[in-house]
Symmetry: C2
Subunit: 123 residues, 2 copies
Amino acid sequence: MTSDGKSDVAVFLPRNYLRPCLLLLLAEGTAHGYELLDQTSKLGLPNVDPGGLYRCLRAMDEEGLVDSRWEPSSIGPARRTYALTREGRDWLRAVSASLAQVHGILELFQHRLQRLEVRDTVI
Amino acid sequence: MTSDGKSDVAVFLPRNYLRPCLLLLLAEGTAHGYELLDQTSKLGLPNVDPGGLYRCLRAMDEEGLVDSRWEPSSIGPARRTYALTREGRDWLRAVSASLAQVHGILELFQHRLQRLEVRDTVI
DNA sequence: GCCGCTAGGTGTACGGTGCACCTACGGGTC
DNA sequence: GACCCGTAGGTGCACCGTACACCTAGCGGC
């Protein structure tokens, strides 16, 4: 929650969520960093930090989860396009299982809270 | 994911998740720290760090989200029991809304991934 | 006296995150 | 040419949550 009273989703997003998001987007198709920066917002990640995104991509490259190659562009500077590796795909599947568990944990949280609200309004 | 290949839920738990969990548990009833340490595991938080838990409780105390008072114990050292304040209850409700959004975001993630898996197995 | 359980706490290092800032290419405008 | 804007990638750094180690103290039992 921010000072202006708006509840802020970003505060409670999963830790390290950028990584799985990028892998998912790359699983849907190869892309370069600047492009991914756009697409992450459609996955629920508001205003992703470019620095963090590029760092994340490079880390995954070094770990072999993605492949990268430079490609020239006629309308601007060269871009580095990333593609998911087999290892990255395996990693994504494993992570998906963890995220599913987190999903369940959040469900439990809401359930427990809702049970309280009902009790409080009934009494 | 850990080195032994086990997918690790804790890595992808929401950021700052301890706070909402403690508030929820205190909404269900007053408790002291050592007791909360036990109950958090039933909310999906595996092996919570005692140090972090006590620090979190104290921070929420200073922010007025919880009240605390020392109570002597006949079977051991004195304990500090915590109770949710009205402000804490409001905060919990606001946070719940954010967590619900995160829940939805995770659902979208699984949906997008599943659509990929289907496409890949069909082709 | 010593151990184990209960209960609360400190110190500290690591890593993810956010913010500011920088380089470089191409195109349009003055 | 000088300038700005959009595209594209990147570094530096400070903050803070988290994890791990470690400490104090009360009580009961051997």
